[in-house]
């Protein structure tokens, strides 16, 4: 479904601040795979997401979604088939629009055309039904401005907005990191349910190593712009949190040793 070939992204090229955020990254995702991404800050996780979404163009390399080359496609065109949820709950919804208007924003273009009524009885009922599944009481607050909702509720609305029209690829960028533990748990549970039901191909960045191993079907670890660990299936099932942590510090130590060699 998603293929990234030899992606290189260099920021501030040619200046003393030159930074290689992606260094020849290769990744392939099969349809329906749910991949969790871990790695320290600056490992290139978000850069990879931004590259997939088209916030910037790669220095070299190519990106394919569902066989289509999207390396040079415009951001808003890619957004038609890539759903993205950010860490910041404020980023995914318009605060002064009501819940149903926000949902209609994501839904009605394909359905009614640009000059059709944005919210009508039929899609209102559909939104209600979709919201009622989450048992958060949001279905009774369709006319409430989204700005009045809590962070967790906003994230759920954002998730629903991204998946109302089934995307080819869903990107979750630490989408529970700004929520309290109980809400985070609930949002994660809803996420899994949505992904499962629509058989979505999903990439999820998380700093919670435990949930990285528990959720999804495959886990990758990134460091300095590349994938340093890629586990799935039985190997992943057997892996414990300690294994992952050890692996992580092992890789880090290697890098450290290399540095020491360089400096000595």
């Amino acid at each position: 479904m998603l293929t990234i070939n030899n992606a290189v992204k260099i920021f501030s090229q040619g200046t003393p601040n030159e930074h290689k955020a992606l260094s020849g990254l290769n990744l392939h995702l099969e349809r329906g795979e749910f991949v969790t991404v871990v790695g320290s800050n600056g490992a290139g996780k978000s850069t990879m997401f931004n590259a997939i979404c088209g916030n910037f163009l790669l220095n070299s390399g190519s990106i394919f979604v569902d066989g289509q080359n999207i390396t040079y496609m415009k951001e808003h065109k890619r957004a038609g088939f890539i759903g993205r949820v950010f860490q910041d709950p404020m980023k995914g919804t318009a605060p002064n629009l009501t819940i149903e208007e926000n949902l209609a924003l994501a839904y009605s273009r394909q359905k009614t055309g640009p000059f059709g009524a944005a919210v009508n009885k039929k899609n209102r009922d559909m939104f209600k039904e979709a919201l009622s599944e989450f048992n958060m009481g949001l279905e009774d607050r369709m006319q409430t401005k989204v700005g009045l909702l809590s962070g967790g509720q906003r994230q759920v609305v954002t998730l629903l907005m991204c998946t109302l029209v089934t995307p080819k690829l869903l990107l979750l960028d630490e989408h529970t990191a700004a929520l309290d533990p109980a809400t985070a748990e609930k949002v994660m549970e809803i996420t899994e349910r949505i992904v499962d039901r629509n058989n979505l191909t999903t990439l999820m960045i998380t700093h919670n190593l435990n949930s990285a191993l528990r959720t999804g079907t495959r886990t990758i670890m990134m460091d300095s712009g590349n994938i340093i660990l890629d586990v799935s299936g039985e190997e992943r099932a057997k892996m414990t949190l300690d294994d992952l942590l050890n692996m992580y510090s092992l890789k880090k130590k290697e890098a450290f040793d290399n540095d020491r060699m360089l400096l000595s």
């Binding site: 926000n102 924003l105 944005a118």
Partner: protein, 303 residues
């Protein structure tokens, strides 16, 4: 009586301008200085067409000339990435020359003795009085624009525009084309402004190159007065309140000049003060609340 009706007519015709200002200022969240140029652009186009006998074409073209001006500002803002206010200033300055060219390098153009929309209807319906015709036409135009714009903001594209003004970060990462949406919105906003100018030219029977000096402030004052009366609620109410605000604004001005509170030439200063004061109300309220908290805390400390 004439003063009462006259102010109503002016309020309705400038109400269309207020709708345009509401769209850019409140919905798209950008104060658009193009207004200062596009109003005269519509005014000049309409007057020159009426002068050559095509007054209906003049009204239609005034809408398109406004929209064109809006597109240029939108293009500068989005594709050339120029600061929104600066983009408006650039278009506005350029339009001054364009407007002079439209008016064949004359500073003003008179339509006295020429057929224009209002005199045409009066001729066709002699049983109606002058003021009835003028009021009815102004009311019809204001109503039609109101209904179209209100309906428009209930469509999907209308929703996209509101979202763009509300949370641009979100819209730019969604499948909505932000640049196209902004350009389109500014075109619609300035189309209203242009139409208002086009109607004003034929209503007052002359066009002046300086008609639009300070017109943005008049529009803002109308929007704000409307919000004081109705409160800031939905877009539908916002659009209606802009027109009502415009009417109230005209009555305030008529009352003030009739009672000689201030001379007519002080109108712009008064409008500017209304807008300045109204826009600073939230800041003043906040400062008052803060000083109250401080004062109470101070009292506690002394006790």
């Amino acid at each position: 009586m004439t003063l009462l009706l006259g102010s109503l007519q002016l309020g309705l015709l400038y109400g269309i301008l207020a709708i345009g200002v509401y769209i850019s200022f409140r919905i798209l969240n950008v104060p658009d200085l193009t207004t200062e140029g596009s109003f005269t652009f519509g005014l000049a186009t309409s007057a020159m067409c009426a002068l050559s006998g095509h007054f209906v074409l003049g009204i239609v073209l005034s809408i398109f000339s406004g929209a064109l001006a809006g597109c240029i500002t939108g293009f500068l803002q989005t594709k050339c990435k120029i600061h929104p206010i600066l983009s408006g200033i650039i278009t506005m300055s350029g339009l001054y020359t364009i407007n002079l060219a439209v008016m064949k390098n004359a500073v003003n153009v008179s339509l006295i003795g020429k057929t224009e929309l209002f005199s045409y209807v009066m001729e066709k319906m002699p049983q109606l009085s002058r003021d009835t015709v003028k009021t009815a036409l102004a009311l019809i135009f204001a109503l039609i624009v109101c209904i179209i714009i209100i309906r428009f903001f209930k469509t999907h594209i209308g929703l996209c525009i509101r979202a763009t003004g509300d949370n641009e970060a979100m819209v730019s990462s969604s499948s909505i084309n932000v640049d196209a949406t902004k350009i389109f919105t500014l075109a619609i906003s300035n189309a209203c402004v242009g139409l208002s100018g086009g109607l004003m030219a034929q209503y007052q029977g002359y066009a002046d190159i300086n008609s639009s000096v300070g017109i943005l402030v008049v529009g803002l004052a109308s929007v704000i007065i409307g919000e004081v009366i109705f409160g800031r609620r939905s877009v539908t109410i916002g659009i209606i309140s802009a027109v009502v605000g415009s009417i109230v604004y005209r009555y305030i001005m008529a009352l003030a000049t009739a009672t000689h509170i201030f001379p007519a030439f002080a109108l712009k200063l008064v409008s500017a003060c209304i807008v300045g004061i109204a826009l600073s109300i939230p800041a003043v309220k906040e400062a008052a609340a803060l000083s109250k908290i401080k004062k109470e805390a101070g009292n506690d400390a002394h006790n």
